[in-house]
């Protein structure tokens, strides 16, 4: 067969395929008017035909397009129109709109701090139906983050992100016969084993991030705080109910030092401070280091800038393939998770607004949205089979198995600490070999007095 004919056939296939796609498009708009087959599932939302619900959010195109797509069937069946209003000025504008009497029906809060501002101050308490659904489909920690300082439950969780990851190369692990550790002790034992091999550095780390240098260190502290103390201590640490130089915090930083300040594990400790957080993960791609602790987003950076491929843990033959395992707890059954998420609060108690707020908490919608890709939530009904991305799949497993879930502590601390001394001192901790005690004392001294 000549190349020409092969090309011609290929072209034919493309033309046919695009015709099919076009036909698909046109038939879709036909059926939307004609009636959808699966509408029984939406029977509970009936009686709201012809209404519109505005959702105000920071999420803009292209992410917004997938949200809109996921609402399609709901809109077709219930007759409720969802008006997705994404704006990067959300955080500044939401106060203006609420005070000006033009509050949106629903607002997606990117952080609990902002939500707390409107608790008892415009936000409508979540109806019993939404609260029941959240009780059934999320862990109690998520409901707590949607609850205002006044103890009233306002906002239902939406999307999530996870930080408790260790990135590694399945190929490097398979080639050397290493297995995934499930406890902190096993993690240190594996690090010793890698170090003993001599060829590969067990850990890579990079704290550098311009004027935010040091935040990577704060993430290490937070993850270990959830492991070596309980959730209550973590909360007390965030709210300064225990001092920053409390012995409990001292324990945590000493554990972190076992990896980050161990030259056998990380090579030159001081250069962690001058290595950017992007560059920090590069070593697992080229095989010069074995493990790297970082949130899910680093996968995109390593894939785009360092030629990594995100693979499944089983894909042990892909050169430059990387994936994640759970940053283990002290014991195998202790599985806390560090991360973040968004919350949907209502400023109106109209039935159609409550219907949408409820629908977003259902496993049905969460599965539908996750299946469109690039997104996951902490919904317990979310089937990992619907999550294609290997890293997101691990993230969903972490969230669903989490004994506790906590937001990033440094984001919740006063900025003078969370975006100031905590970063700076963690940097000095590695860069100048400042002692753990001196670091904690300095952060404690910088905590603003009230």
């Amino acid at each position: 067969m000549s190349i020409f004919r092969r090309r011609a056939i290929g072209l034919g296939v493309i033309v046919t395929a695009s015709l099919l796609v076009l036909a698909g498009c046109s038939s879709e708009s036909d059926s939307a008017g004609g009636g959808t087959e699966n509408c029984e599932a939406y029977a509970e939302y009936a009686g709201n035909e012809g209404t519109t619900v505005e959702i105000y959010t920071t999420i803009i195109s292209p992410e917004a397009d997938l949200f809109v797509q996921s609402f399609q069937e709901f809109q077709d069946c219930t007759g409720i129109t969802i008006n997705w209003n994404g704006s990067q000025e959300f955080e500044a504008q939401i106060s203006v709109r609420v005070e000006g009497g033009t509050a949106p029906d629903l607002a997606i809060f990117p952080q609990p701090g902002l939500l707390a501002k409107f608790a008892g101050n415009g936000l409508v308490p979540a109806p019993a139906k939404v609260a029941d659904s959240v009780d059934a489909n999320y862990t109690a920690d998520w409901k707590n983050y949607g609850t205002g300082p006044d103890g009233v439950f306002y906002a239902a969780p939406l999307g999530a992100n996870v930080k408790s990851f260790v990135w590694y190369s399945p190929k490097t692990f398979a080639d050397n016969g290493w297995s995934i550790p499930t406890t902190w002790a096993e993690l240190l034992a594996l690090s010793d084993e890698v170090a003993a091999g001599g060829d590969i550095q067990p850990w890579c780390a990079g704290f550098g991030s311009g004027d935010a240098t040091g935040w990577v260190g704060t993430d290490w502290m937070e993850d270990l705080m959830l492991r070596f103390s309980d959730a209550a201590t973590y909360d007390a640490w965030v709210s300064h109910d225990i001092a920053f130089n409390d012995p409990k915090v001292q324990t945590v930083i000493d554990e972190a030092a076992k990896i980050l300040k161990n030259p056998d594990y990380v090579g030159d400790v001081a250069s962690i401070a001058t290595t950017t957080f992007q560059e920090g993960g590069a070593g697992i791609v080229d095989g010069t280091c074995a493990m790297h602790r970082q949130a899910s987003f680093i996968g995109g950076i390593l894939a785009a800038d360092y030629g990594a491929t995100i693979v499944n843990p089983e894909d042990t033959d892909v050169e430059g393939g990387i994936t994640t395992f759970y940053f283990p707890g002290v014991s195998a059954d202790q599985t806390p998770a560090l991360g973040g998420g968004e919350f949907v609060g209502a400023f109106s108690d109209r039935p159609e607004v409550q219907a949408v707020q409820h629908y977003l908490t259902t496993p049905d919608w969460n599965n539908k949205k996750a299946a469109l890709g690039g997104w996951f939530s902490a919904n317990l009904g979310l089937d990992t089979a619907n999550v294609a991305d290997p890293v997101n799949k691990v993230a969903v497993e972490i969230l669903q198995n989490a004994t506790t879930f906590r937001f990033d502590a440094s984001d919740l601390m006063p900025a003078a600490v969370g975006a100031g001394s905590f970063w700076k001192e963690m940097t000095a901790w590695v860069a100048e070999n400042k002692s753990s005690k001196a670091v904690l004392d300095a952060i404690e001294a910088s905590w603003p007095a009230n």
């Binding site: 708009s29 195109s61 077709d76 007759g79 550098g208 250069s271 070593g283 080229d286 900025a415 975006a419």
Partner: protein, 335 residues
């Protein structure tokens, strides 16, 4: 059942058009006011016309100064006496803080090193190059090359030089730092350049000198061109050496310009923050006042301490500006 309304699909034009309309009406309103002022000025009696003349020409500048300089300056001053979110008056507490935090000694020391070294080094090299290329053929090529860094933003220069100073500790990974590579090629042991104080501050200063030398060279070179040829010829006839001619004729003749260049670079150096921010983020004992001011105000959201640092910086610059203005006046009266 109804057809679904998707997100209102806004085309680019939909977003651009309202802004264009707004821009157009703003320009129209501005032109309208100017036109009105001119009409009024023309129709009024002579005496008022004279006053109006000043108003028409000075008002735009005065208004802009008021909005862009005086108002923010006063606000910053007020903020510097208030707490972090500017809700409570706390007296001189922010200033006390600024002079008592342990880190401030490093910040003040670094700012001092910067303001001494950068003007001297940049003006010195600029002066040397200007003198050497004066009356030289094809000097334009050399001068443009040396002037070129002036066209690079401080942030850009910071990023470029960060690559020069990059250090890779793991020998199995490729070394991408230029300086470290040179060191390794010479079989010396490279250092983690940006980490070691006080070496790192000196290396950051090199970046600023690299940028400012071109400015000093161009201005000083122009001043040298202004030295009357007769004086140079007379000195040549008298058989002065090159060095004597440089110290006894060139420098005294362009003394005023040297002072202006020195003070201008000093003011720029006092305000430097982009280089420090992009290269070390103020870590590793390289912090300077301007960077700390930014970090306090916009990272840690403490407008009180940030404003206090801004005022301290402002007060530190005032004497230099006064000196600079005096020199400019002196130079003008000499001519």
């Amino acid at each position: 059942m109804k057809l679904t309304a998707l997100v209102p699909q806004r085309s680019l034009w939909d977003t651009v058009l309202p802004n264009l309309v707004m821009l157009g009406s703003a320009i129209a309103a501005f032109l309208g006011i100017i036109f009105l002022l001119f009409v009024l000025a023309e129709r009024s009696p002579n005496k008022i016309q004279n006053i109006l003349k000043y108003v028409v020409f000075l008002a735009p500048a005065a208004v802009l100064l008021l909005i862009g300089l005086i108002y923010p300056a006063i606000r910053t001053l007020i903020y510097s006496f208030m707490n972090d979110d500017s809700s409570k008056f706390i007296g001189f507490e922010n200033y006390v803080w600024a002079f008592t935090i342990p880190e401030i000694r490093i910040v003040l020391r670094n700012t001092l090193i910067w303001t001494i070294l950068v003007p001297v080094l940049a003006t010195g090299t600029g002066l040397a190059i200007a003198y050497m290329t004066d009356r030289m053929k094809r000097a334009a090529v050399i001068k443009s090359l040396i002037f070129m860094p002036m066209a690079i933003s401080f942030v850009g220069a910071g990023i470029i030089w960060r690559f020069v100073y990059t250090y890779e500790a793991n020998l199995k990974r490729p070394e991408i730092g230029l300086l470290s590579s040179i060191w390794r090629a010479m079989e010396w042991e490279p250092r983690n350049w940006l980490l070691e104080a006080p070496l790192n501050t000196l290396l950051l200063i090199v970046v600023m000198v690299w940028i400012q030398t071109g400015f000093a060279m161009v201005v000083l070179s122009a001043a040298m061109k202004n030295i009357p040829d007769e004086i140079i010829e007379a000195s040549l006839l008298d058989g002065t050496s090159n060095w004597r001619r440089f110290t006894k004729i060139t420098i005294p003749m362009i003394r005023a310009t040297i002072v202006v260049v020195l003070t201008t670079i000093t003011i720029g150096t006092l305000k430097v923050f982009d280089i420090v921010r992009t290269m070390t983020g103020g870590n590793f004992k390289t912090n300077v006042i301007a960077n700390e001011m930014y970090s306090q105000s916009f990272r840690q959201m403490n407008y009180g301490t940030g404003s206090a640092l801004a005022i301290i910086l402002f007060i530190a610059i005032i004497p230099i500006i006064i000196y600079n203005v005096r020199q400019l006046r002196l130079e003008r009266t000499e001519r």
